[in-house]
């Protein structure tokens, strides 16, 4: 499906309950579901978002702009870039998760050791 195709969730009649301004189809082999959700969350100040599964391991994101003056092309471009950033964040988080847990554990464990008695 083309990234800009206008569709509706299957149980919502077209153009009534949730009329989209545009949609973006995301390949979950590149951007996992978690990344798509985090990116959509960041856009909920500007848009109402509706997500549904598509064939071929894709997620269709429908956008309805909150401000009529907003530029759909600009939002679509920002969303694409934000997907890359959130994908990178997820990758960094995965690579450093064990180290982060070790840092916090070491910090808190050593904090609980009683201070040596003053002489």
């Amino acid at each position: 499906m083309p990234a800009s195709a206008v569709t509706q969730p299957s149980d919502v009649p077209r153009g009534t309950a949730f009329p989209f301004d545009f949609t973006v189809s995301v390949d979950t082999a590149i951007f996992p579901r978690e990344v798509v959700l985090r990116t959509c969350y960041a856009f909920t100040d500007r848009c109402h978002c509706w997500l549904e599964s598509e064939e071929g391991a894709r997620i269709l994101v429908g956008f309805r702009l909150k401000a009529s003056s907003a530029d759909p092309d600009a939002i679509r471009g920002e969303f694409g870039n934000a997907l890359i950033d959130f994908g990178l964040r997820a990758s960094i988080e995965e690579k450093t998760r064990a180290v982060r847990e070790a840092i916090v554990s070491a910090a808190l464990a050593e904090a609980s050791v009683p201070a040596p008695a003053k002489r």
Partner: protein, 502 residues
Amino acid sequence: MAGRLSFAPLADFQSKEPGYQPMPFRFARIPGVDGKVLVTSEVGEFEFLDEVDFMAFAAGTLSPATDTYADLQGKHFLAEGDYSSTLRMVAAKYRTRKSFLKGGPALHVFVVTLRCDHSCRYCQVSRQTADQARFDMSAETAAAAIDLMFQTPSPSLTVEFQGGEPLLAFPRIRQIVEAIEERNLVEGRAITYSMTSTLHQADGEVLEFLRRHDFQLSTSLDGPEALHDANRPRPGRESHRRTLDGIGRVREALGERSLSALTTLTRESLKYPEAIVDEYVRLGFPSIFLRPLSPFGFAAKAAQRIGYGMEEFLPFYERALAYILELNRMGVAIQEAYTGFLLSHILTPFPTGYVDLRSPTGAGLGARVYNYDGGVYASDEGRMLAEMGDHSLRLGTVHDSHADLMRSEGMQLLLATGVAEALPGCSDCAFLPYCGADPVFNLAREGDPVGHRPTNAHCVKHTGLFRILFRYLAEADPHVVRTFTSWVTQRPVRRLPDAEAA
């Protein structure tokens, strides 16, 4: 004599393992800082990288031969080979950043009365008229609150008096201070007294008492006379003049450094950033606290008339900060207090005494409020919320034990929602190490302690402030860096060593 000492080649000291282990980091792109990516570590170190170096660093392919690699290694963004020593150093920094947790609540706020002789439109505490003595704290409640305060383990305690106008209940303040002093002969804590007051009731007897107990005072000054009196009406419309009289009396009795002032910003205030700063300079204050309206009390009810969005506050702040920096450039030493807190979070590993910007939240963990009626709250805003009908942050009463209060439903709510590292939107944010969770604000604004980050005023405000400050840090104007350093170190610019400023 032996021949010349020979040293092993550099390669012998370098890791035999190929590549490096990145330490946890986050990143952001700052508007106005083109071509650079801000990276921040778990413990608040930061660096600006160009896009090429950033992508290489994130991919694990940054060349060890580059300066960027050395900078990142020096700040513990990456480690080679066995990284256990790096991990321990980072853990020590993390522990320092979170050291505010160790002693439990250190700020204890006594709301001795809700009475006030002002009728400020933005009042956040739901004050009562000056003659309604039933809104005063009783002697019995005060004694129980003191007992409760000494059950907390912190070796340093700040006792803060608030209202209403606390000086309308001065006899109760005297009783509390004298009881604390007597009890502390055995307890041996380091105790600081502070009070937020209009100062209008500060006569000779009061000032002598405050001087004897080394009080730190804070008063409200909203700017030039017309703006101040419009924001803070009272019978006779002479609040500004009376405040200035009080400032003069306090300075004479307690000294210049015992008094600070803060301004509460209404929609009208946003038109006058320079005039507000000029008023503080004219009156000789070394610091100004530009405080947006609170979403509590009467301020919540008056929001339609005097409120504004963060998108209106941020340009005001940016203009005021630019003006303050320009004044400093001309030799006028004045700082913006909130900027000072944020810069301390960015430029040092040490937590500040400011409890409203911590993770875990300072509410209940760093501060506790004893209300006039014996209710105990996790923060001043928690009791303001209660005045608005939401009692979820009432931890108990002054007759409960410290342990009971820490196990209360209110504390459970705060602990479940007050850790920014675990909040949606915050966990990804590059500004996380410098920011904090504010479940009380979220409850007041959104009716939900977690809050919706993309539209959350606390998040919009702080993201905006951090972007402004990091833009200044990226520009690295030597004058601005020296001024910021002086704010963080509390040393005049002229006494900063060049090396430190650099």
